[in-house]
């Protein structure tokens, strides 16, 4: 099993989710995060006091899938989350040691 972790631009979340559900993904986890890469932050000004905001709001999607699904998932996310501009984000793939469905006790692939 693999954990596919994607950091994407927030407004892309719905499009990516639709693409993933059409690939039969049963569930995923989304969190609101902040970060920066090559995309620089903004400057805020309050009564003359300037603040450089280095962190930009992003969305992190995490979904655990079977090994044979990884490539199609990564490809799907890449295509739907892309805008072509700096700040589109990144996708990471991590190994997952085990999984358990809490309600039934099913493990590993049966838990996904």
């Amino acid at each position: 099993m693999k954990l596919v972790m994607a950091i994407i631009k927030p407004f892309k979340l719905d499009v990516v989710r639709e693409a993933l559900t059409s690939l039969n993904i049963q569930g995923l986890t989304v969190s609101e995060v902040k970060g920066f890469g090559r995309q620089k932050g903004q400057t805020e000004i309050y009564r003359g006091a300037e603040y450089s905001v280095s962190f930009l709001p992003k969305v992190k999607i995490e979904v655990v899938v079977n090994d044979d699904q990884v490539d199609s998932i990564v490809e799907s996310i890449k295509k739907t989350a892309e805008t072509g501009k700096i700040g589109d984000g990144k996708i990471f793939v991590l190994d997952v040691a085990s999984a358990v469905r809490i309600r039934t006790g099913e493990t590993n692939s049966d838990a996904l």
Binding site: I45, Y46, R47, G48, A49
Partner: protein, 434 residues
Amino acid sequence: MKTFRFLPFFLSVGLFVLAMAIDPSAAVAQEETPVLDTGDTAWMLTSTALVLLMTIPGLALFYSGMVRKKNILAMSMQVFSVCCLMTVLWMLAGYSLAFGEGGAYVGDLSKAMLSGLTLDAMSGTIPESLFMVFQMTFAIITPALIVGAFADRMKFSAMLLFTGAWMLCVYAPITHWVWGGGFLGEAGVLDFAGGTVVHINAGVAGLVACIVVGKRSDYGAEPMPPHNLVLSVIGASLLWVGWFGFNAGSAVAANATAAMAMTVTQIATAAAALSWMFVEWMHRGKPSVLGIVSGAVAGLVAITPASGFVDPSGALYIGIASGAACYWAAVILKNALGYDDSLDVFGVHGVGGIVGALLTGVFAAEAIGGTPGLLEGNPGQVWTQAYGILATIIYCAVGSFIILKVVDVLVGLRVSEEVERDGLDLALHGEVVQ
């Protein structure tokens, strides 16, 4: 059907005739005792409520929205508790020290505990209790304004002691000087609704306090953006509307003076908001929400002393001038001199009050308030205004400094660095905003 329209009129006439038959003296004004005017009283009842609304929740929201989330409850607590404390202290001694007969520099204790304020006691055409409670709302908001200067780092106990002592020892005497029969009023200083008494007073006290307490420990190093400017917009709006009670209510009557005061207040405020907005737009490239509401407050402050003495065109110029002047003070002066006046109490209330008080001497129109200003051939009025401004600044600065030092000895002024870092809400009040 048509006759029914006139029924209320005929009923009133009939009741009046009946009343005359029962008590003819009702139609004759008594020379000795002042007669309660229901129009004046109704308006002053309303004004009192409006001015209280300026503090709770107007000022509370205006300030709270501007601080970081970890201090938002502490800021609300400070404003709200000041409202409660000043109410009681005004009753115990403040009103008497301000409006008791006394001498040239302070009242007396003849009205301490509001003794003498019976149901029927009058102050002009309104009950004295109403005059007292109207003035109470001024005594509430003035110290409440100060707390913005030392936001994020003052001990709650120290804040209560300081504001309580300050109201009795600084605010009440200065009120007496200007409105209570003291030497500034006698000298001809024009201050309709509190440019010196409230705004220069609070502004200077704020400046002294923020210097004595010291800067926030991470000032300049750590970003401190406002947590929620929507709260500040709501607060500023409540201040604006409530200020009609502040200025028009200072006519202490439902009359043409009050109406003109309301008119010039609206004009000056809008002009100042636009003035700040355009100056900021040119200076920084973007017109900001914090800027426009700050400009509005600056205009409200500046028109306060002038509101019963100038006409609409005077108000327009006062607004334009104060918006720009307070922008300069809050943005350029503060950063140049390096003091941490967190919410620009001196920048907006101090400088705005000084500009407004001086310009009152320039734009005062005899036809409006009975005294001519510089533009009507009476340049001496500007000097009189300056005299009043200077007296206020000196006494307030010295008095505030002494009280702060005493409070520092008693309980200490500042919270520890850890508390400051973690935020006052949790450490001082045991609560957070989620």
